[in-house]
Structure formats: structure tokens, C-alpha cells
């Protein structure tokens, strides 16, 4: 029964991040972008990752893809340790893991035609047969709601932001990946277009059986697409839990603050006059203990002395707070 290598079961998480630490050197200072983050994403799941700018959410996404080397920690994808891979092995893995960026226009080469942009990942992967490559590109452009006959020969500047994001999605999907990191994919889009792209991502996820890490600063957007949500603050995870539970009953004071700050499109809901909660401190000198304590009304001495561990407070709900709200 005992085996040298544990078989990969479908119930194992597709992605496991263990104690990941990412730091940047800026002059003499060190930015603590990701500090001891652990999380898992199950097959077919969408994990939302929220936090304000500078909290390290994009760095975490990039470190998962091995686009940024971690200081320590492991990233395990489908039983394979990405953090230990180099060169060709990593290149082969990249086919299975893709990335969609925030700025749809800047992420497309302005001088290349749409058909070539979407085909490029196949070319890089050594897909030699031109005819079958064209067929794959056409299928993918149709899947994202574009007419391949019309768009293939055009250049990115001929398209709107929403259409460019469709093209980016087609490019990400053309190699049939299993996992996609979506880094603020709708933040640059208008409300009416944003809904179209969110619906498209959901449709693509169902159709191709994808697993997603959905990074965004907008909680309502994250909730719309995520099964579980992880909240990040200054490089650390505050709370991880099922979307609905987390939004109904936030356990971490920071999650509660984020939810309260969302403008509600209802004139009867008068925005509460808040006590000023200040701004996040610099990630070059994060506060001792709990990093949120400088903005937290519940914080006391323990919060400045002891780092709160991410612990399970209810089935499937984790919070890193000495005095959780639930």
C-alpha cells in the first residue's frame, strides 16, 4: 500500500501555497510584499483575493506563477513543486497556468495582429501545424464572443477596452490551461462592460473546467465570481472563508471595514460618518504583531506583541485575529 510518491487524487487541492515570503529591496529598505502566506485552491474552485493597493495581492499572484522568485516557501501545483522547477520543466508547466492582466490594452502588443497575438502562446509552445493552430485560434476567439473572420487581421488599437480584455482571455485560454490567475481583470473597464467580462469569465470557467485565482480590490466584484475569498492586508492574510459567510459575518475587523466602505447604490442607506481609520502603514516597516492594529479600533497590547496566526474558527473559516468579530 505504501508508495514512494503519493498519488494525486482529484480531492487534493490543485494549488497549494505554503509559507510563501516575497520581499523586494528598494534602496536600503525592504518591502515585505508577501509575508508567510499559505493557502489552497481546490480543482474547479474560484478563490477571490482582495485587498487594497500595495497589500501584496498582485505579488502573490506573480509569485505563484514563478514570475517573481520567493525568499522562502513553496508553491505546489498538481503535486509538483513549482518553486523547485527551472528552465524547460517550468516552461512546460506554464502552459497549464495562465495570467490575465488589469490593463487590457497595454497587455497586447500594439503592432501585432489579433490572430497572431492569440496564436503566440501556441507558437512558443512549439505548436508547428499552421492549420490546426489557426483553427484553435478561431475557436477561441469565437468562444470569447468575437468573430475571428473580422478581428484576426486587425490591430489592438481598433478595439475597445472590453474587446481587448476578450482578446486577452482568448490568448490565456488557447493552450487549454487548468489554472488562471486573473489580476484585476475588470478594474479598468466601465460598469456595463465589466458585467459582460465577469459573465464571460464565469462562462469560460464552466466550459473549460478552469480553476481561478481572482485578484481584485472591489469586494462586490470578487463576491460575484468567487467560491471562497481571501482578504489580504500589508502582505498577510487576514481572513479566508466561503464568500457568502465572509460577507454576511466578517470575522476580521479589516474585512468589516472593507465591506462598510463600499458605496451602496441606495439613497436610503446614508453613508455612516466614520471615525477616521487612517491609511495603511508602509510595507517597508510593517507594524509589529498584527499588521492591521494601527487602524483597528479593537486592538490592544496583545495585538502589538503577538502575530495572530491564521486559525480555523468555524468549518472552512480561517481568521488571523486575536479578537475576531465572530
Amino acid at each position: 500500500m505504501m508508495q514512494d510518491v503519493a498519488p494525486v487524487r482529484s480531492s487534493d487541492p490543485l494549488l497549494r501555497v505554503e509559507n510563501l515570503v516575497v520581499e523586494y529591496a528598494v534602496g536600503a529598505k525592504t518591502i515585505h510584499a508577501v509575508s508567510d502566506v499559505s493557502l489552497e485552491i481546490a480543482r474547479g474552485e474560484t478563490l477571490g483575493l482582495v485587498g487594497e493597493s500595495g497589500c501584496g495581492k498582485s505579488t502573490l499572484g506573480r509569485a505563484i506563477l514563478q514570475l517573481r522568485a520567493p525568499v522562502s516557501g513553496r508553491v505546489v501545483f498538481d503535486g509538483l513543486e513549482l518553486t523547485a522547477m527551472r528552465g524547460e520543466a517550468l516552461r512546460q508547466m506554464r502552459r497549464r497556468i495562465q495570467l490575465i492582466f488589469q490593463d487590457p490594452i497595454a497587455s497586447l502588443n500594439p503592432r501585432r495582429r489579433i490572430g497572431d497575438i492569440v496564436a503566440e502562446p501556441l507558437v512558443i509552445a512549439g505548436h508547428k501545424d499552421e492549420t490546426s493552430r489557426q483553427a484553435l485560434v478561431s475557436d477561441m476567439l469565437s468562444a470569447v464572443g468575437l468573430d475571428p473572420a473580422i478581428v484576426s487581421g486587425r490591430l489592438p488599437h481598433e478595439f475597445s477596452g472590453g474587446q481587448c480584455q476578450r482578446i486577452s482571455i482568448a490568448r490565456a485560454l488557447v493552450q487549454s490551461p487548468e489554472f488562471i490567475v486573473c489580476d484585476e481583470p475588470v478594474s479598468a473597464l466601465d460598469v456595463s462592460i465589466r458585467a459582460q467580462i465577469l459573465n464571460l469569465l464565469e462562462e469560460m470557467k464552466a466550459r473549460f473546467g478552469l480553476t481561478l485565482l481572482f485578484i481584485a480590490h472591489d469586494l462586490a466584484v470578487v463576491k460575484a465570481v468567487s467560491d471562497r475569498v481571501a482578504v489580504m492586508y500589508l502582505g498577510r492574510l487576514c481572513e479566508v472563508g466561503p464568500s457568502e459567510k465572509l460577507f454576511e459575518n466578517p470575522a476580521h475587523p479589516y474585512t468589516a471595514l472593507l465591506i462598510e466602505a463600499i458605496p451602496v447604490p441606495d439613497p436610503d442607506v446614508r453613508p455612516a460618518e466614520r471615525v477616521t481609520v487612517g491609511e495603511p502603514p508602509s510595507p517597508t516597516a510593517p507594524p509589529s504583531g498584527c499588521r492591521f492594529r494601527t487602524r483597528c479600533v479593537r486592538a490592544d497590547r496583545r495585538c502589538s506583541e503577538e502575530i495572530p496566526e491564521l486559525r480555523e474558527i468555524a468549518p472552512n473559516r480561517h481568521v488571523a485575529c486575536h479578537y475576531p468579530l465572530v
Binding site: 475597445s160 466601465d190 465589466r194 458585467a195 459573465n199 463576491k223 460575484a224 472593507l258 463600499i262 481609520v277
Partner: protein, 331 residues
């Protein structure tokens, strides 16, 4: 009860020549705002909301052609001349832009920029300007204001920079503040703080404010009246509670529906608006929203609906098949 308007925008149109032909950015807009009131202007990118605010401020690009009248405090701004306009902008008409990094001068300290405004426009001496600057920075919630005077914009966070921009805008006690997407570049917790600050100062100073945004959520609890813009025109305008409770224009409803709601279950499909706004260099004969509208009929594609008050004097909309009303009349 007719309150005299502080600002009255009458039949304003802005045309921009482009290589692809004339682009009508603002298409015959009428708006009024009384002293001490707040007006929200809501629309997506390219709807003309920023061009309209620039037409009010007389800050249009050189090539732009403006027609119509912009009456502020009894004066027609396009016709009062550069000197009078400069005095008016200095004292009565202030603006806060989206990106404080571009509205602040990066090579001057916060103190220099604030004190320059005060000394130039209020004729304060150095000591008085300095004292007033410190008081203003404290009012907009900047900690340690004395030290901030010596700092440069890049040393401050985005939220703090926007507070400085607000302090400069408020420094000469304006009668009207135009806030053009003041929080779009900011994080959600900072956004809430800046909106609170603007609301507090607006009430305290009894200043009129135009809040321009793409987010219906922002105007909901913070304005007296809302104008929704689409393709250069105001398509619906009403007191804020009325607009949200009895919206008539299908575009307004679609825009509200497309916002993900926190109380909706995950993975619920969003009611997206299909297609995209029309090319502003190719004006349509009919209603600009008709190609995307689920309520559009034959008339909507042929004829442009006029913005008018159909049921109530304070609720204007430009639609042949308004929501609910059409259903009621049809039965």
C-alpha cells in the same frame, strides 16, 4: 419655491474636431444647481461628463467649440473675458480632479502650493498664509500639518495628496466645487474617507458641489439631485431618492443592475448591457441607447427623444418607452 440657480448650464454643446470627423462630446445639455446643493453627474467613460465639467470651468481644449450659455452667479462664463474669468476661478469656482499627482506641482512643496494660492487670491501676508495653510490641512484631516508644508507631493500617499488638492480647492471659500471622479484613483477605504470629507466641508461651507462619477453607488447617499449622461446627453435627471426609486430611463436601470451587489449570491449571472456606446463621431438618428436597449421600439431607432418632465416637474427623462410608465399605459 424657485431657488435662484448659482450655476445654470443652458443648451451647452461641445464639438471636437477629430481626424475621423466632428465629435460631439456634449450634446445640448441643460443643468441647474442652487447654492449649497449637490448634483451628481453619472456616466461611463466617453459619455461627456468630464467635457461638460470642463465647459463649465472654461477649461476646454483649444480646438473645442462651445455653444450655449454657462451662467455662474449671473455671469455668462464663455463671454466674460480672461481677467474676470481668472478672478472668478480663483475665488468662487474650484475643482478637484481625479488624479492628485497630476493636479499638484511635483517640484513644489505642499506649503508653497497652498500659500501661493492664498497670497495671490486673498492677499494674505506670509505669516497669515502659513497659519491659514496649517488650519486648512488640519481641516481636511492631514496629521502633523506643519511638517507636511515642507513635503513634496510624492512623499504623500494618494489619499493624502487628494486631501491636499481638496485643501487648495477650498482655500478661497468657493461657492461651487466641481469634483471630477475625485476618488476613482483611490482605494475603497480611502474613497469613503474622501467622500465623507467632501460631504462635511460642503455642508459646513454651504457650498454647491457637482460630483462627477461613473459609480451610481457614490451619488446615492451623497447628492440632492442626479443627472445621468449617455453619449453626450443628459438622459435622466431627478432628485436622488426619486431617481433610484422610480427610474424611468432603461439605461439608468441597466447601469444600476450591472453593478455587482454584495447581497447577491456568488456566481449569479450579472445583467450586463450588451454592446457598447455608439461612436461619438457617427451620431444616430434615434435614441443613442436604442441599439443596446431591451425596451426599444421602431420610434426609438428613428427619432431622438427629448429630455422633458413627463409626470413630475422635477423628474426629467429622454425616453419613448420609459420603465413602468409604458407598462401602465399599455394595460
Amino acid at each position: 419655491m424657485t431657488v435662484p440657480a448659482l450655476l445654470s448650464v443652458e443648451d451647452v454643446a461641445v464639438d471636437l474636431p477629430t481626424p475621423r470627423g466632428n465629435l460631439r462630446a456634449v450634446d445640448h445639455v441643460d443643468l441647474k444647481i442652487a447654492a449649497g446643493r449637490t448634483l451628481g453627474i453619472v456616466g461611463e467613460s466617453g459619455c461627456g461628463k468630464t467635457m461638460l465639467s470642463r465647459a463649465i470651468l472654461q477649461l476646454l481644449p483649444k480646438k473645442a467649440r462651445l455653444s450655449g450659455r454657462v451662467l455662474f452667479d449671473g455671469q455668462d462664463l464663455p463671454r466674460i473675458g480672461a481677467g474676470a474669468l481668472r478672478r472668478l476661478r480663483a475665488r468662487s469656482l474650484a475643482v478637484v480632479f481625479q488624479d492628485p499627482m497630476t493636479s499638484l506641482n511635483p517640484v513644489l512643496t505642499i506649503g508653497t502650493q497652498l500659500m501661493e494660492t492664498l497670497r495671490e487670491h486673498l492677499a494674505l501676508d506670509h505669516a497669515a498664509a502659513r497659519a491659514r495653510s496649517i488650519a486648512l490641512l488640519a481641516e481636511v484631516g492631514i496629521p502633523a500639518p506643519e511638517q507636511r508644508l515642507k513635503q513634496y507631493p510624492h512623499e504623500l500617499s494618494g489619499g493624502m495628496r487628494q486631501r491636499v488638492a481638496i485643501a487648495i480647492a477650498l482655500s478661497c471659500e468657493p461657492k461651487l466645487l466641481i469634483a471630477d471622479e475625485p476618488t476613482t484613483a483611490l482605494d475603497v477605504t480611502i474613497q469613503a474617507q474622501i467622500l465623507d470629507l467632501l460631504a462635511r466641508e460642503q455642508r459646513r461651507r454651504h457650498m454647491a458641489m457637482i460630483l462627477i462619477t461613473h459609480d451610481l453607488g457614490i451619488v446615492a447617499g451623497r447628492t440632492d439631485e442626479v443627472a445621468v449622461m449617455y453619449a453626450g446627453r443628459v438622459v435622466e435627471r431627478a432628485p436622488t431618492p426619486k431617481l433610484f426609486k422610480r427610474m424611468r430611463m432603461p439605461y439608468t436601470q441597466a447601469l444600476l443592475a450591472a453593478i455587482p451587489k454584495l447581497d447577491a449570491p456568488p456566481h449569479a449571472p450579472l445583467p450586463a448591457i450588451s454592446g457598447r456606446p455608439p461612436d461619438p463621431t457617427q451620431p444616430l438618428d434615434g435614441c443613442s441607447f436604442s441599439p443596446r436597449c431591451s425596451h426599444a421600439g421602431v420610434r426609438c431607432h428613428r427619432e431622438k427623444p427629448v429630455l422633458r418632465d413627463v409626470e413630475e416637474a422635477d423628474h426629467h427623462y429622454a425616453c419613448f418607452n420609459p420603465l413602468e410608465v409604458a407598462a401602465g399605459l399599455g394595460s
